[in-house]
């Protein structure tokens, strides 16, 4: 049973690529065979977040055009031998690939992998259409901001309207509990109220994510709240029932910080 999952958001900058990298790595930690495909042709950066830029030889467009076999273009991860990355081309644009070609590629990869994760570009144009073409389900990333939520809502509408209705699960990213408590940021309930789809994960805003992203080392599974939140998302994807993290957790990152101030 293999699954093709697209990570999408509509709005840019909400954390699609970071989520793809962390969820992909997390699934690999759970001993699944995973391939990450960067479909953001022309704006390649999943390879950076994974820290694999220097190993790229062939890319997605080469595979689709038949210049190489998928095996040749896929890069094995530094840490996990069951995790692969299929990078996108930097010098081409979204029209280099059609939705049909993407579907054919993902169907081919299904035979070998448990999970195929597609990092979708921002927007709802060709790049988005390419990314969702072969997907079974979607992870919808949003932040608790009105603009991101409006775009996410549009994306759900498009996913529901497609020929094959795709199930979409919500990841609320960059939650700042301190701001939520003060009433300056939407709560997860507010977000869910508008979008009305299942919540699969809530990830706190954490400076460790920025550090990890810049170093090209996904932090999933590490001992901070964000790492745990990503790991829980992975477990939920595999069908495990995991309770949601208490983002106010006593031993959590934020309380440590606020604890410091209280002293």
């Amino acid at each position: 049973m293999s699954e093709v999952i697209v990570v999408t958001s509509g709005k840019g900058g909400v954390g699609k690529t970071t989520t793809t990298a962390n969820v992909g790595t997390g699934l690999a930690m759970l001993n699944k065979k995973v391939v990450l495909i960067d479909t953001d042709i022309g704006l390649r950066n999943l390879d950076l977040v994974m820290g694999l830029e220097n190993r790229i030889v062939y890319n997605l467009v080469d595979v689709v055009e038949g210049n190489c076999r998928p095996k040749q273009a896929m890069i094995k991860d530094k840490r996990f031998s069951n995790l692969y990355l299929l990078p996108s081309a930097q010098t081409r644009d979204k029209t280099s690939v059609t939705p049909e070609q993407m579907k054919a590629l993902t169907d081919e990869l299904r035979e070998e992998f448990d999970y195929i994760l597609l990092d979708c570009p921002a927007g709802i144009e060709q790049g988005f259409q390419n990314a969702i073409a072969g997907a079974d389900r979607a992870l919808l990333v949003t932040t608790p901001e009105v603009s991101a939520i409006r775009d996410a809502d549009r994306i759900i509408g498009l996913l529901e309207a497609g020929e094959t209705k795709k199930r979409a699960d919500l990841i609320v990213n960059r939650i700042r509990m301190d701001m939520v408590k003060k009433g300056d940021m939407m709560t997860m309930e507010d977000v869910q109220d508008i979008l009305a789809i299942d919540l699969i994960g809530a990830v706190p805003d954490d400076e460790n994510i920025v550090i990890a992203t810049n170093q090209g080392e996904p932090l999933v599974g590490s001992n901070n709240l964000a790492g745990q939140a990503y790991m829980n998302i992975c477990k939920r994807i595999t069908g495990e029932d995991v309770p949601f993290l208490d983002l106010n957790g006593k031993s959590g990152f934020f309380s440590k910080i606020s604890g410091l101030f209280k002293k």
Binding site: R150, D151, D153, R154, I156, G157, L158, E160, A161, G183, D193, I194, A196
Partner: protein, 226 residues
């Protein structure tokens, strides 16, 4: 721009105002020109026409109608005399028909949430079993009832019927239009307002050319007449 021929729209069709001093042959040319220009705007329609500004005898009227037919895709259904009494009669019969078609208990159901970018257009009243999210739009010729939270844009009675109404379990629309009257939500912080008020079922209706939004209760329902 010459003003020898002016086309005005009224509720039932168009009124053609003709110059009363110009020689008829010249006027015909102007009519042809005018309708040629506006044929794109009118497109392929059928409507009633009224002449004003100049007395036309039967032959002249026929000639003018031929010109209109030759120069545009408008199908003239009938010519209405510009006579107050008859106009009123006509108005009455049309309004009877229009209002009877709305008050016919026709309606549609839509199940699901309308999301940003989605538009629902209905040729009757409509009941939505779900939310209407910001960025979504409902357009109906009749009433709109939202069994959920209304946060988008809603047009009721789009054909100009101000006796239609909008009901929502949670009334928070960005913009609301009933007939040709429009209202938008206040610019105050919607978040704060939401926190203060418990959601309650509300109705929006038109009175004295203004849209009022009130809590739905028996009194309001009794006052409704449509």
């Amino acid at each position: 721009m010459k003003n020898s021929v002016v086309i005005k729209g009224n509720k039932y069709g168009i009124m053609v105002v003709l110059d009363k001093d110009m020689p008829f042959d010249e006027l015909k040319k102007d009519i042809a020109e005018k309708f040629k220009q506006s044929s794109k705007f009118f497109g392929k329609t059928s409507m009633a026409v009224t002449f004003d500004g100049r007395e036309l005898d039967i032959d002249e009227e026929r000639e003018v109608l031929d010109i209109i037919a030759d120069n545009s895709d408008i199908e003239i259904v009938c010519v209405i005399d510009n006579d107050k009494q008859r106009e009123n009669l006509y108005k009455q019969s049309i309004e009877e028909r229009v209002s009877s078609s709305v008050s016919e208990n026709s309606g549609q159901f839509y199940k699901g949430t309308l999301r940003s970018g989605q538009v629902l257009e209905c040729d009757s009243s409509v009941v939505i079993l779900g939310d209407v999210n910001p960025g979504a739009k409902i357009i109906s010729t009749g009433n709109v009832i939202v069994l959920g939270s209304l946060k988008g844009i809603v047009y009721a009675g789009i054909a100009g019927d101000t006796s239609t109404f909008v009901v929502a379990l949670e009334m928070n629309p960005v913009q609301i239009r009933i007939g040709d009257i429009m209202a938008r939500c206040a610019d105050d912080n919607s978040k704060k307002r939401k926190k203060n008020n418990k959601p309650e079922t509300k109705i929006a209706f038109v009175e004295n050319d203004n849209i009022y939004i009130e809590t739905l209760n028996k009194e309001v329902l009794n006052d409704l007449h449509f």
